[in-house]
Symmetry: C2
Subunit: 228 residues, 2 copies
């Protein structure tokens, strides 16, 4: 039995819509973005995305059936991860489209940044160049698991929750560039706010490892400390 043109088209578009359905729920996008920073267990994901465990599990199941994530049982835990790099690139292209088409998203970001006096024009490419050239101290303020799963080469890991206590580790003279998960992640905003209050010269880089990797630049993994 061979398919008619219409049946073939319908079948193709139904498959394409599986991707759309997967990213049609806000919480599923949030889960994907967290996973784009590295693998996580269900419990961790539920906590980070502010979901009940059962609910998170169901969303993850949906993401699994649309093949955007993989799950691997590790003892008592189940570790979820993005299925492959193409998923990260897709997330990035969704963000790009949303940024270019939805005035609301730009407005939200502007309002949020303004409310904490963090609005400043930064030349993204120039900032990224300086980060690549090692001209600044690069501060990764994400949770340490995410740092370990992959970070910008040369970056120092100081999770936002520990920043206050570990301030003295940072030299005061040099400029500090803080980054976290990406443009909509607020940890680096908080970090820069704190650093400036304490007299440091600090700016935020809104790109994260997802963007870094998409540009084909090298990502470093591991804690830096020798393991085992």
């Amino acid at each position: 039995m061979s398919l008619s043109h219409r049946q073939y088209k319908d079948a193709i578009y139904e498959q394409l819509a599986r991707i759309g359905k997967a990213v049609s729920a806000p919480k599923r996008i949030e889960l994907l973005e967290i996973l784009s920073q590295g693998p996580r267990t269900v419990e961790a994901l539920a906590k980070l995305a502010d979901l009940s465990v059962a609910n998170a599990s169901q969303h993850l199941k949906a993401l699994r059936t649309s093949r955007l994530v993989d799950a691997e049982k590790k003892g008592l835990f189940v570790e979820y991860r993005l299925a492959d790099d193409s998923v990260g690139r897709y997330l990035l292209s969704t963000q790009t489209l949303a940024d270019s088409r939805l005035a609301e998203i730009r407005q939200l970001t502007r309002d949020f940044l303004e409310a904490r006096g963090a609005l400043e024009p930064v030349n993204r490419d120039e900032l990224m160049r300086r980060v690549r050239e090692g001209e600044v101290i690069v501060l990764d303020v994400r949770p340490s698991e995410e740092y370990a799963a992959g970070h910008i080469p040369g970056a120092v890991s100081v999770p936002i929750s520990e920043l206050k206590a570990r301030l003295k580790e940072l030299p005061k003279g040099k400029e500090i560039v803080a980054y976290c998960r990406g443009p909509y992640c607020v940890m680096s905003i908080d970090a820069v706010e704190l650093l400036r209050k304490r007299g440091y010269r600090a700016v935020r880089m809104e790109q994260g490892v997802l963007d870094w990797r998409a540009r084909g630049w090298r990502i470093e993994a591991g804690t830096g400390k020798t393991k085992r």
Copy 2:
């Protein structure tokens, strides 16, 4: 009143999900793909996507509120078009992701091509290079409106519906490369089938203008015939 972190995140992801919701219905993806070939009226879209006019209008309204398409009243007609190039690039990235993650979509295509004996390994990049260099006759078999809205430079427009009657316009010696809307479009498959049966050397190029433009290559517009 300033937003809490959680409220800000929820608001951001809700906005991102608007894009996902827009492309979570197969018919809306089909409409977007048709529009990626050029502007169309509601009636034309309904017909091409096999929808009732009322239903098409409702899907288009959804696409309008998620800002992926624009509508412009032209006398008695309403002309819809993709809001901007970023929408086309997003469609392409969805296809790429679906192709890489969903075995079903690859299987569907393989089955469909196999059923009409059209399976053949073609080196895409090499084929595109030959098309760019003008080493082959390039045949655009889409409806003439789509050709006029934008086509591969040097391509000849012979809509699939007219191909049989206009075969004699094509020289028999040279190799013919037929293309249409993109990888899931079947018009070029039919064209190649017909051409071969009549003794032409013909192959299909699965990329369309969307892909061409995304690579930064030039697109030509107009009918070629002098208007007015």
